[in-house]
């Protein structure tokens, strides 16, 4: 810098600096960062002085106070005497629950839709098309409200519940299903199930090795099925079915006992899945069509059966195209779950960012927590999907 100044001591120094590519980029960046920090500082300063005027401070102590409100759908023990922190945990788990269930259902439905869109059957194809176009072009909030409305208005009140074999009851207060009560012996069955999964993982590897070395093929699918399902099922029967069901019963206003899925959860879950499935369907279709037809032809030339062509040639290649946009759909679904508030499902936004914020008046702290939580979820999902994407990436030899 000083060198330049010596060469041109007049006001041209700045111009000179400006015309030099290197120094210009430094200058531009310094200005940008200065503006950025000035803005940041300015807003922070305002916030501090505004809070001071109101006599508020910033602290997270409120998380330890009693929440005093009830939450109907919860995965962990919680009552109105629990703390705000626990209420937040309930909210986090509820968000994760609906996001997890939603991602699974949306993926299944989405792949089905994608396959239907490629189907040669004209009727199926067009139906899938109409469905996808309708769902994609209507806001997700509207879908949530509609599904919620349908559940509330078309399903009966508990007294006239639709019952399936007197153990599952569908009402507009929720779906009541029997709750399994495990006897100690059941854990043996469960242990066998886990062992079955572990065995399968090992066996698949072993079978692949054997095939690579000798060309001998094992019926991997059937053996795996037997290990995971067959053995535990046999044990279950031999041990005399060590499981009891807590069947819901109509008592007073509502069914008691069993497990319950609240209409709010069902509405949110279904609506998010149906909505995201339409997008996934299009992604899957695009992914499969993008695989060169020559690949399929080459596979048949090698004498692979149709299902083997799909499994070994088309799908692995399509997945590489499908995964990145699929990731962003999963992220969207998770973020859209924040619309839970429209139907009163107690997720993060409704607990920490809603009732807790309201009872304690800690807007800053609560909204910051909510933002950080969503950022964390986004980060986790995209990290996982990136890892998966890397794993299936084309390895060029």
């Amino acid at each position: 810098m000083s060198e330049v100044a010596v060469q041109q001591p007049s006001s041209g120094g700045i111009m000179r600096l400006w015309n030099d590519k290197e120094s210009r980029s430094v200058i531009v960046q310094i200005i940008a960062v200065a503006i950025f920090f000035a803005l940041f500082f300015y807003m922070g300063r305002n916030a501090v002085s505004n809070l001071e005027t109101l006599g508020k401070d910033i602290s997270l102590d409120f998380l330890g106070q009693t929440a005093s409100y009830d939450i109907s759908q919860r995965l962990i023990e919680y009552d109105s005497r629990s703390t705000h922190f626990r209420a937040m945990l309930v909210g986090i788990l509820n968000t994760l629950l609906v996001a997890f269930c939603g991602i699974i259902l949306a993926t299944v439905l989405g792949f089905l839709l994608g396959v239907f869109r490629l189907s040669k059957n004209w009727l199926t194809n067009k139906l899938a098309y109409v469905y996808i176009e309708y769902v994609r072009n209507v806001p997700v909030l509207l879908h949530i409200l509609m599904v919620h409305g349908v559940i509330i208005h078309t399903l009966p009140v508990p007294k006239n519940a639709i019952s399936v074999s007197d153990s599952v009851f569908l009402t507009n207060r929720g779906f009541f299903v029997p709750k399994p009560l495990f006897e100690p012996m059941f854990w043996i069955v469960f242990g066998l199930f886990v062992a079955g999964i572990l065995f399968t993982i090992w066996f698949r590897r072993y079978a692949k090795n054997v095939q690579d070395l000798t060309g001998k093929q094992y019926p991997v699918f059937w053996i795996s099925l037997g290990a995971i399902i067959g053995v535990p099922a046999l044990a279950f029967l031999v041990l005399g079915m060590p499981i009891n069901w807590d069947i819901p019963e109509l008592k007073g206003f509502n069914y008691k006992g069993g497990m319950v899925l609240r209409p709010e959860f069902i509405a949110l879950w279904l609506a998010l899945s149906l909505y995201t499935a339409a997008f996934i369907g299009e992604i899957v279709r695009a992914g499969i069509t993008a695989v060169n037809w020559g690949q399929t032809e080459a596979a048949s030339a090698l004498g692979l059966t149709r299902s083997r062509t799909l499994n070994l040639v088309v799908i692995p290649q399509a997945l590489r195209i499908i995964i990145p946009p699929l990731t962003s759909q999963y992220l969207n679904l998770t973020k859209n779950s924040s619309l839970a508030i429209a139907v009163g499902y107690m997720d993060i936004v409704a607990t920490v960012g809603g009732v807790t914020l309201n009872q304690t008046g800690r807007e800053m702290e609560c909204m910051t927590i909510v933002l950080l939580l969503y950022l964390t979820f986004s980060l986790i999902i995209s990290t996982f999907m990136n890892w998966y994407n890397k794993r299936i990436k084309l390895v060029e030899r």
């Binding site: 200058i27 310094i30 200005i31 200065a34 503006i35 920090f37 000035a38 803005l39 500082f41 300015y42 300063r45 305002n46 002085s49 505004n50 005027t53 109101l54 006599g55 508020k56 005093s68 409100y69 009830d70 939450i71 109907s72 009552d79 109105s80 005497r81 409305g149 509330i152 208005h153 009140v157 507009n172 207060r173 008592k251 007073g252 206003f253 509502n254 008691k256 609240r262 209409p263 709010e264 508030i341 429209a342 009163g344 107690m346 409704a350 809603g354 009732v355 914020l357 309201n358 009872q359 304690t360 008046g361 807007e363």
Partner: protein, 340 residues
């Protein structure tokens, strides 16, 4: 280096603007020529826009009274509709100057949420509404019921306490607004709707067949509803406080919107009236207003009885009785502090 200096100066400049001392709310409102009043998004009788989009209701009239006292015109109010969720934030962030929104005064709201409450203008309590056909007669029979409840309210906390104390269970159905409440209760998603008894009356009036629903006799909480302002501006709090007191005192003293101008024209026999209407001593100056402040407020919306009868009284669709809200001289507990 020069640039860094420039950056530093910019930063300093920004922070200077931020340090501008905050003027008092009264000066702000007068400079703006408009009062920002935080109200509900719609509770029939308390605060709701009518067919022409003009806001009407019990809470609205108190906003107009304050505007009349401060600005001389009850129409110079901008209503800021807020949900139960964001009402305090709207007030605390300075978006609203004063809040009249069916708000219960509680210790934690006063101390922790940094609000200053104005005198109670409606004594309420939380009740339950339920379908007649269910044959429930007491709130203690509500074991296992689904209950629609507005989140972020004191009623939510009372409900949890009530059921806990009585050892019975319930399923809370969280709703955001009264409209959602009507939709959910009307659609039979919940057996019971709970909120302040006044709100229940208003909601019941909005249902398809009001006679098919009853309000249970139990009142499970005390809900003194009143206006509120931000902590830290005592003069502004005083204005709000004494406008409410003036409205209540006007009924006691027999001053109405009809006769207020006449009574204020010349000093009367009753020194209480004279003090209120500024014909004897200048009470207005103590809160930074002129002597005519109360005259304008009463002229704009009338006294407490007029407001009550016009908006939520027995002759309206809401049909609430005065009950606790009668003057202390009539067996109620409405008791305005003396203006002297």
């Amino acid at each position: 280096m020069k640039l860094l200096k420039i950056a530093a100066y910019t930063t300093a400049l920004f922070s200077l603007t931020a340090m501008n001392a905050q003027a008092g709310t009264l000066e702000d409102v007068q400079a703006r020529g408009e009062l920002n009043c935080v109200v509900s998004t719609g509770i029939a009788g308390f605060a709701a826009p009518n067919e022409d989009g003009r806001w009407e209701g019990f809470d609205i009239d108190f906003c107009r009274a304050v505007a009349a006292a401060v600005l001389g015109d009850g129409e110079k109010v901008k209503f800021v509709p807020a949900t139960t969720k964001n009402r305090f934030t709207v007030l605390n962030s300075g978006e609203g100057d004063i809040l009249f929104r069916n708000t219960t005064e509680t210790m934690s709201r006063d101390a922790d949420l940094k609000l200053t409450f104005l005198p109670v203008n409606y004594y309420d309590g939380q009740g339950f509404m339920i379908r007649k056909e269910l044959g429930v007669e007491s709130a203690k029979d509500l074991d296992g019921a689904s209950i629609c409840i507005q989140t972020g309210t004191t009623t939510e906390l009372n409900l949890a306490d009530f059921f806990r104390t009585n050892g019975i269970s319930y399923e809370p159905v969280a709703i955001e607004t009264n409209e959602e409440g009507i939709a959910n209760y009307g659609g039979n998603r919940c057996d019971v709707y709970t909120t302040d008894a006044s709100g229940l009356a208003s909601t019941r009036a909005a249902l398809e067949d009001p006679s098919a629903h009853i309000i249970l006799p139990e009142i499970i909480s005390k809900e003194p509803l009143g206006g509120a302002v931000r902590h830290g501006d005592d003069q502004w709090a005083d204005i709000g406080k004494w406008v409410v007191n003036a409205i209540i005192a006007a009924e006691e003293l027999g001053i109405t919107s009809e006769n207020v101008e006449e009574l204020a024209a010349a000093p009367q026999e009753n020194p209480n009236i004279n003090r209120l209407l500024g014909t004897e001593s200048d009470m207005g100056a103590m809160i930074g207003l002129d002597p005519q402040w109360a005259v304008r407020a009463i002229k704009a919306v009338g006294n407490y009885a007029e407001i009550f009868d016009r908006t939520i009284g027995p002759d309206t669709a809401i049909g609430l009785e005065r009950g606790l809200n009668a003057q202390w001289t009539d067996g109620g507990i409405l008791y305005a502090a003396p203006i002297r």
